[in-house]
């Protein structure tokens, strides 16, 4: 069936007729990729979760279509990564055009020795559909469709939500509320808060085209980016592929374009025909699946945590679409928040641990906004001078490899290293390589006996002490998973784990439940590990 046409049933809830408002420890608002990821993660960690969504459908149109390696790894932990990868398409060949000539092509062949590719392209509605199916398998996760939060109050003890439904409103109380309700976040408005930043004066048209024949020879998948092409002078055009032979074209229109006129099929069809004729030298029949004219801004809230209400995803921060940083950073927000909420609710960590969510993800949002702004400035130069340099870079790129590295049509979304996080324990030993405290863990191919096993798949979702060599006896007494790569544990079949972790016999890494490095040692001690663990759980005394 057509996934996009899927709808979910609204049911009346006994909460509506309760004499006093029912209490829900954890409420997630918004069943997009971020809210679903968070709700599933919380439920998998044993919490009772209520997920409220204001409609009963999947995303309209493809929207986010590029899901990065880190997102897939998080979804692996939630049991849905494989479905995403099976359905998604990968590409590695990209071509960049300037004017009427190809400037260069690149092959983004992924680094070997990782289970997941650098990213896949997949329509957001597929991602959401797979996440909803997973959510529905979890008995302690309740989704209420067509339940719209219309009012919110909080005091030190709890949040009170008023929820509107087709049968009328009801009230509930909550321990914590995660606002994953999108860029126009009603919850943010209810708290009188804003997301602020730089608004770009430009408009873009997205058109999703279903083709009934292959676009490239051998049905290959390539990503093409045109700067200032003859069929769309002075603007940029991007072409890339989604599953089901749906291709996205992204046209920069300029600020003066009329959004209502531009999103009519009569306006879109000739634009698309021109790209296909001039780019591919032939007419390719297509049907228009979805189109949207959008503007964007790089902005964020000052603080992602406001008492018992915590913002994640687009409600907290917004970026330009270049570099696929919207949904991907939101899923990382969820990954960062879930284990902390659970630790607080289980009494294993102080409430202040939630401030570290805000600290870390605000830092990550700043990094995403920086990258996104840089790509935007390259793709859509806003002054004569920036256009001059942009075109000089593209001109040089044809002949000189160094300039190709300066061309920026959107940098690949990679997870932030959480430098400066209060949860990190600073290195006392010398290490090289990128896996410093705060860095996201790296995958590596291992083997258990004769069976291949990926490193990331061995992590149990709690804290893990990753030990190279042999684990000393005292480690068995630690309240965490001890994972040994060595003669008595997993085999580092290609030596890549030792290489990526700069490990020698005795080296140990303390990994957080969200797979960021909390601490590392050449010669760990019981007290050292326990102290780093306490710090990573937000203990103020450590």
């Amino acid at each position: 069936m057509d996934v996009q046409a899927k709808t979910f049933d609204y049911h009346d809830t006994p909460d509506r007729s309760a004499a006093t408002p029912a209490h829900h420890p954890l409420v997630v608002v918004g069943a997009g990729p971020v809210g679903l990821t968070l709700a599933i993660d919380l439920a998998q960690r044993g919490q009772r979760v209520l997920l409220l969504d204001n409609d009963h459908k999947l995303s309209t149109g493809s929207r986010a279509i590029c899901f990065a390696k880190r997102t897939l790894e998080i979804w692996d932990r939630l049991g849905v990564g494989q479905r995403m990868v099976d359905k998604g398409v990968s590409w590695s060949v990209g071509r960049v055009f300037f004017g009427d000539a190809e400037v260069y092509r690149f092959d983004l062949a992924p680094e070997a020795g990782h289970e997941r590719p650098a990213f896949i392209n997949l329509q957001q509605y597929y991602a959401e559909a797979f996440l909803v199916e997973r959510a529905q398998q979890l008995p302690n996760l309740e989704i209420r469709w067509n339940n719209q939060v219309s009012a919110l109050q909080q005091d030190g003890a709890q949040v009170t939500l008023t929820v509107d439904t087709p049968d009328g409103p009801y009230r509930i109380t909550a321990g914590h509320v995660a606002a994953c309700d999108g860029s126009r976040s009603p919850l943010r408005a209810m708290l009188g808060l804003e997301s602020k930043g730089r608004v770009f004066h430009d408009r873009f048209l997205i058109a999703d085209l279903k083709l009934d024949q292959a676009l490239f020879a051998d049905d290959a998948t390539e990503r093409w980016f045109w700067f200032d092409p003859p069929f769309h002078r002075g603007q940029s055009v991007l072409l890339h592929r989604q599953p089901d032979n749906v291709w996205r074209m992204d046209f920069q229109l300029g600020w003066d374009a009329d959004p209502d006129a531009e999103k009519r099929p009569e306006a879109i069809t000739p634009r698309v025909q021109q790209v296909l004729r001039m780019g591919f030298g032939r007419d390719v029949p297509f049907t228009l699946e979805w189109a949207s004219v959008y503007t964007f801004a790089c902005l964020r809230m000052d603080r992602f945590r406001h008492g018992r209400v915590i913002f994640a995803g687009d409600s907290a921060h917004g970026v330009s679409p270049f570099g696929a940083r919207g949904a991907n950073s939101g899923v990382q927000d969820a990954d960062n928040l879930a284990w902390k909420l659970v630790a607080v609710h289980e009494g294993r960590a102080p409430e202040s641990l939630l401030d570290s969510y805000a600290d870390e993800r605000e830092h990550a949002a700043d990094e995403n906004i920086l990258n996104s702004t840089r790509a935007t400035d390259f793709i859509t130069p806003k002054s004569e001078l920036s256009l001059l340099f942009r075109n000089a870079v593209l001109g040089l790129a044809r002949d000189f490899p160094f300039a190709r590295r300066v061309v920026n049509s959107g940098r690949l979304s990679v997870p932030a290293t959480l430098d400066g996080s209060p949860l990190n324990t600073a290195d006392v030993d010398l290490f090289s390589g990128p896996l410093r405290p705060g860095a996201p863990v790296a995958d590596a191919p291992l083997a258990r006996g004769d069976q291949p096993a990926w490193l990331l798949r061995q992590l149990d979702g709690g804290f893990t002490l990753l030990v190279f060599g042999t684990a000393p006896g005292w480690m068995a007494g630690l309240p965490l998973q001890v994972l040994v790569i060595g003669p008595e544990g997993l085999r580092d079949v290609q030596g890549l784990a030792a290489q990526r972790y700069d490990a020698r016999p005795g080296t140990a890494y303390l990994l957080r439940p969200d797979g960021h490095v909390a601490a590392r040692w050449r010669a760990p001690t019981d007290i050292g590990v326990r102290s780093a663990l306490a710090r990573a759980l937000g203990s103020p005394s450590s």
């Binding site: 001059l388 340099f389 075109n391 000089a392 870079v393 001109g395 040089l396 000189f400 160094f402 300039a403």
Partner: protein, 66 residues
């Protein structure tokens, strides 16, 4: 950043610089300069040095009639 004399042959360089712009319109000269800046930046390579060079050029510009 090197600010002491480092050019092998200043007069020859200056002549070559003007010769490179010979016959170009002002717009084309701007284009050429932009390309030259990028090529030279790659030659220098180090970001800290490049930042110093940018700052020095900008500081030198201050106080010059617009």
């Amino acid at each position: 950043m090197i600010t002491e004399p480092n050019l092998q042959s200043p007069d020859d360089f200056y002549e070559a610089l003007l010769a490179a712009h010979q016959g170009l319109t002002l717009a084309q000269s701007h284009d050429l300069n932009a390309r030259l800046v990028l090529l030279l930046a790659n030659q220098v390579g180090r970001l800290d040095v490049l930042r110093d060079l940018l700052a020095a050029a900008r500081a030198n510009l201050e106080g010059t009639p617009a």
